[in-house]
């Protein structure tokens, strides 16, 4: 290994070991870390939806939950296909871990509710969750994504999340 190659190897090692660990703000995440957050966020909402299908008899809640599973699965399939085309893998990071930890608390809470109490809490959580994800995607992710195809997928995702937010808001109002 000549001196130039050795320097390049050290630079690569430094970049690999330091960059992910330093990302402590959503805006600092790399494209592959952002992809991981999106995949995680989709899966969390799919888990909430499966819980709703297991616990709710309300036809509106059940139809909404089925739509969440259908739409978020479609987004995740597109994301995985895109990552494969780009030859990269999604990278776990602090934000994915935080989303998972927060969702575990909410799933525990939801699991203990039944009937109208569950329906109201599920609908409100869907509204809050979609609003939080929309803020994250619109303000922190899309402006910082480098790859044009990844950005296009997030813009499509944002459109879907906004429709879900509107649907959840109607559900919350109807359950008042």
């Amino acid at each position: 290994m000549n001196a130039r190659n050795a320097l390049a190897a050290i630079a690569t090692l430094v970049a690999l070991s330091v960059t992910p660990a330093m990302a402590q703000s959503p805006a600092d995440l790399s494209d592959t870390e952002i992809a991981h957050v999106a995949y995680t966020a989709d899966n969390i909402d799919i888990r909430y939806a499966h819980l709703a299908l297991a616990l709710s008899d309300n036809p509106e809640i059940r139809a909404f939950a089925e739509t969440m599973i259908r739409d978020h699965t479609a987004v995740n399939e597109q994301a995985l296909q895109l990552l494969e085309q780009l030859g990269v893998s999604a990278e776990d990071n602090f934000l994915s871990q935080k989303l998972n930890a927060d969702s575990a608390v909410i799933i525990t809470e939801l699991s203990q509710l039944r009937g109208a109490e569950f329906d109201k809490r599920y609908a409100q959580n869907e509204l809050d969750y979609h609003q939080a994800v929309i803020g994250l995607v619109a303000d922190s992710f899309i402006p910082n994504i480098d790859n044009a195809d990844v950005k296009a997928l997030f813009e499509a995702g944002l459109e879907i999340f906004r429709v879900h937010e509107g649907h959840a808001a109607m559900m919350v109002e109807a359950l008042q």
Partner: protein, 122 residues
């Protein structure tokens, strides 16, 4: 011999069909009627039907194509017709009947609404 008879009948049937087609074309030409069934395209994109309102005639066809990542349907409000689930890039064609007149929507995203103005063929 039987085969010859059948063959002659087939020729006669073919000739009758040809005469019928010619008569229909003649009638259209001489009565100022000129409606051949048309296939209309509706793009499902950005959580909307485009065009949202469509004027069609009985016997026409409508082809819905989904451009969104999210799956969609085009479904009659009263449930009498439904394209079924359309994934991204998928299309379904439906032949228009008078009963399809009115509003339709996406079963998965009720905020998506379209309408059909259906008239009888001339």
């Amino acid at each position: 011999m039987r085969r010859a008879v059948v063959s002659r009948r087939a020729v006669l049937a073919g000739a009758s069909a040809a005469l019928a087609v010619t008569s229909a074309e003649w009638a259209r030409a001489h009565n100022g009627i000129n409606h051949n069934p048309v296939t209309h395209e509706v793009e499902v994109s950005g959580f909307a039907f485009d065009p949202a309102m469509l004027a069609v005639r009985v016997g026409d066809s409508i082809r819905w194509t989904n451009r969104d990542v999210a799956p969609h349907t085009a479904t009659a409000r009263d449930g009498t017709w439904d394209t079924g689930t359309l994934g991204q890039g998928e299309s379904t064609e439906v032949e228009v009947t008078m009963e399809m007149a009115g509003e339709y929507y996406c079963r998965f995203h009720p905020v998506m609404v379209g309408s059909l103005d259906v008239s009888e063929p001339d």
